[in-house]
Symmetry: C2
Subunit: 224 residues, 2 copies
């Protein structure tokens, strides 16, 4: 009985890791679709989001079954409840990757990103994917330092988001309102995606330390 119990708890974490991996891959491919105006890749990301949604529903159902049958307490209970929130954040991340892909599809065969914003969008896409890869790693390793270091990369994401706005507000913006709308939305999708990855990592920190990430001392700088 106890063994089954731990298998069920582990299967919840496994589900979260799988969702994070799928969302990370989706945002990476959506970025390529956006920058290369690749319709097939965009469609692929759009239809693939169903898998993440289904995992979310399965995980919710698993959590409810586990709560009903095993009636976990203390740390295990907190794990199950927190997992529900993490699953929702990951499901939402998949939606955001899908939104990026839809932007690519909407403007196809054109490209939604003007030349002077390509670098920024590319970096936001890479950062989004890397933040989500680390969220998956934190879910498995419970590495608090890694989780805290993610906050710094998310600050970089916020900077890039601001870069887009500065660009749009610049009097030299030549690409009209349509491109401004696309860039505003894309920027917001990536920024929110990063937030969700950080939320997942923060939740793990809370599970491991019992303290909220914002109350812990910042991670030591890393020489890179």
């Amino acid at each position: 009985m106890r063994e089954l119990y731990h298998e069920e708890l582990d299967s919840i974490t496994d589900g979260l890791v799988e969702m994070a991996n799928l969302a990370g891959s989706a945002v990476g491919r959506a970025t390529t679709a956006l920058l290369d105006a690749d319709l097939r890749l965009a469609e692929d990301v759009i239809s693939g989001d169903e898998t993440i949604d289904a995992l979310h529903r399965t995980l919710e159902q698993r959590a409810i079954t586990l709560l009903a049958r095993q009636q976990p307490v203390a740390t295990d209970l907190r794990l199950v409840v927190t997992s529900l929130g993490m699953s929702a954040a990951l499901e939402r991340s998949g939606d955001l990757a899908q939104h990026v892909a839809k932007l690519a599809r909407l403007r196809h065969p054109g490209c939604a990103v003007p030349l002077d914003l390509r670098g920024t969008i590319q970096e936001m896409g890479e950062l989004a994917q890397s933040l989500m890869a680390r969220a998956a790693e934190v879910l498995v390793s419970h590495d608090v330092d890694l989780a805290l270091r993610m906050e710094r990369d998310d600050d970089r994401m916020d900077e890039l988001h601001s870069t887009i706005f500065r660009h749009l507000m610049d009097d030299r913006w030549q690409h009209g309102a349509e491109a401004a709308v696309d860039a505003t939305l894309a920027g917001r999708y990536y920024e929110r995606f990063g937030d969700h990855a950080v939320t997942v990592a923060r939740d793990v920190v809370y599970l491991v330390t019992g303290e909220h990430a914002e109350d812990l001392p910042p991670a030591a700088p890393v020489a890179t």
Copy 2:
């Protein structure tokens, strides 16, 4: 013991209703702040969001305590788990109202909304507030028809959202990229706010009927 148990369950619903009321009021006041460039009102909404965040944390804690102490099963268990998701959606709605208020503050003493979009933004604000008022009502009354009718109003919200885009894409758009960015963001905030209100109502439908709202026949048209 059983009486305490039901009091605890009720207090979770009470918390959700309070959050919905606060979020509805916040989005209404944020809209006024946005349209009237009213800085004091905007600040009021921005600082008021803390109350919604605190209610969310209290509700999570209450749910965990209830799960640990009372180990509810069947419908009660589903209520508690679903409440966690509803609470997250309501907390997020509060954030979105706060984002609208921040847009008002950012452009003060100017107004972020050009004259030709005032009507659309006004209607989106009213719709957002009314959807959230009905979500609160559904939480109390468990009125499935009312919940299903909300979907139609949310369709109207999506139409208004599209109106903004059509406006922005129009060659006659004269307000530059900054106003385009503001309108894009405001539109998205209202649209997401409406989605969250509908999500809460859908979750109640699921709790009451055991069926997902999208699988039920649409509500009969109402003569209004």
